[in-house]
């Protein structure tokens, strides 16, 4: 095992990012054909992934992280914003439908390996089509064959599985096929939407290790979307936290999870079961956090005229060492308090705050 676990990506941080997102927004219409209501799923998302960098996007269900992935993959049409690949805005370049050029740059691995491979086709079909569509087959049948076998070996599968049907493979093996299919087009960026959450726990690490290997050996950039903070910490160089459709905190994975600055991140971190921290659960502290964040549909302070958040957009604050790339976007963050235990402690929340007695409210 020669994984470069201790060196968070030396390649990252310089030059044009492989993928950059600016001010991306997405609203879904709700109700019937004649309704003008809409739900805001994403709002002003900025994110950059350097070439050869793995960035994790963490958040709970409903935080908009999957929507973001689908927007970047252009399975959904973003309502606003820009998606830049190598500095080119692809939303402007091919406006109505993603071009094949774009498809060859950005690939996606889906959450459910049992759903992402068409049960009617053999494994070979998936890889062969990807090669054929993007002209990566090498011209001759022999070259294609070689490429197919190479792909299988790369993701740790036997070449003779090409003849199998998806239902003959285990979950982990299918997810490897899905990764091979993405690799076949030789993309710059792979979007991985919770690639391990449907797998048996014992094979999850194997898939994460494979992703890291691909980054190390082929320099592919990745956006790793997950709700599992521990795996984000394990795999990603940087981690961004999504909350209510916006990234609220971002930084080097180890630093971010060790010193979470946003109350929501703190809540997430504190909720992860970790036997090593057994007994660290503090109900009073949690109640405080819960009160500050509530259900992940919107920030608790949104709509409260007494809070600066509602009056103006929160700005980014640097956290810790100015050289680090750790920032948080929250009015409650007090840079001067950063030296203390945690930022929120210096600003006790008001018990009469309207959100304080709202349990997680049911969706209307």
């Amino acid at each position: 095992m020669s994984h470069s676990l201790m060196t968070p990506s030396a390649v990252a941080g310089t030059g044009t990012p492989a993928l950059e997102i600016r001010g991306l927004g997405k609203s879904f219409p709700v109700g019937g054909l004649f309704s003008r209501d809409s739900v805001r799923a994403l709002h002003g998302v900025d994110l950059a992934i350097g070439s050869g960098e793995i960035v994790a996007l963490v958040g709970e269900s409903g935080s908009g992280k999957s929507t973001l992935a689908r927007c970047i993959a252009r399975l959904e049409k973003p309502s606003s914003g820009e998606i830049l690949i190598d500095g080119v805005d692809v939303l402007k370049r091919d406006r109505f439908q993603a071009s094949r050029a774009f498809r060859s740059q950005v690939q996606m691995v889906f959450q459910d390996p049992f759903g992402s491979l068409n049960p009617a086709h053999r494994i070979e079909h998936f890889l062969r089509r990807s090669l054929a569509i993007h002209g990566k087959g090498g011209g001759s049948e022999e070259a294609t064959r070689r490429r197919l076998e190479e792909l299988m070996t790369t993701v740790g599968l036997e070449a003779d599985m090409l003849n199998s049907y998806p239902h003959e493979l285990s979950g982990g093996q299918r997810q490897r096929v899905a990764i091979a299919r993405a690799l076949a087009v030789e993309p710059q960026v792979i979007l991985a939407d919770e690639p391990t959450s449907m797998l048996d726990v014992s094979v999850r690490i194997g898939v994460l290790n494979l992703m890291r290997k691909l980054r190390d050996e082929q320099g592919i950039s990745m956006l790793y979307i997950t709700h599992d903070l521990a795996s984000a910490r394990y795999l990603a160089d940087r981690t961004a936290v999504m909350f209510a459709g916006e990234p609220v905190e971002e930084g080097e994975s180890l630093d971010l999870l060790a010193n979470p600055a946003h109350p929501y991140t703190q809540l997430l971190v504190s909720a992860v079961p970790d036997p090593a921290r057994a007994g660290s659960y503090d109900p009073v502290r949690r109640a405080e956090l819960r009160q500050a964040v509530m259900a992940s549909t919107r920030c608790a302070f949104d709509g409260d005229p007494n809070q600066p958040c509602s009056a103006e957009e929160p700005v980014r604050h640097h956290v810790g060492d100015p050289a680090s790339r750790h920032w948080v976007r929250c009015h409650l963050y007090r840079p001067w308090a950063a030296a203390g235990a945690h930022a929120l402690a210096s600003e006790p929340t008001n018990p009469s705050h309207p959100a304080s007695n709202a349990q997680e409210e049911a969706p209307a």
Binding site: S202, I205, H227, R233, A271, P273, E360, A362
Partner: protein, 320 residues
Amino acid sequence: MTISQVSFGSHEPVLDVKDLTVKYIGDTRSTTAVQRVSFSIGTGEVFGLAGESGCGKSTIANSIMRLLKDPAKIAGGSISFGGRDVLAMSPEELRRFRWQDVAMVFQSAMNSLNPVLTIGEQIVDIFTTHAGYSRKESLRRAGELLELVRIDPARLKSYPHQLSGGMRQRAVIAMAVALKPSLLILDEPTTALDVVVQQEIMAQIKELQRELGFSVLFITHDMSLMVELSHRMAVMYGGRIVETAKAQDVYANPRHPYTQALMGAFPPLTGPRVPLTGLPDGVKFRNIPDLAEVAPGHLVAPFGDDIPVIDSVNLEGAAR
């Protein structure tokens, strides 16, 4: 083979499962879902059953409640609850045994609540059937139950779809403790929920357990959660128990390679990043032998030094 009685609570086991074997009788062949599994749970003890999908842990839960449906059949062994033979109960005895003695929280609260009845009606059902209370009295108690899990009693009139995921699961937990059963089976009660809600639900269950003193059979695939919550635990693989011990012992010193793989599957949230391996794809253990005691209260299924127990198959996912 004996399970040494290192129960956390009293030495009198609430539940005693011996050599339980469950088979799925198929059209052409039968498969064994659970094979000679034995364990016991003491009064007030939280016993964890860990393992991955298809390892038979939910089948065990359903066997205890005798909820197995065709083609699954109990093919051998015994289940005794407070000294009574669960497998010999008549339909009427069984009906009373269910929920009064053992209650269960299912994996998905959305699916385990009847979508066309209000939460209130579904709780009232329990009281009118088992306790013979009037409707009015039942409703009053139902309201109290909801308060117990910190849900506004006005929610009695809500339908399941009007509650959030966490609230629904809390309502199910309220139902589970309605008749103060002596054993609560939790079958992956939080897998469908986000971590923050999961943490609250687990805290809620702990609190109720302190208050009401029931025993818990806790089923999950999340080792971290299990170690945090359980007193003792067993790790299942392919219908067999491969290791059982105090939870902290399993965490600190997993003996079986499979247990080690499971532990290795959860990267820690603190400390340095170290490479983990988990279990390679398609690796399977076969013919797991009976448990043997390796330390006081720590039993492990023997495996050879050269680990010949692992072989590679590529069809293991076929029967998902």
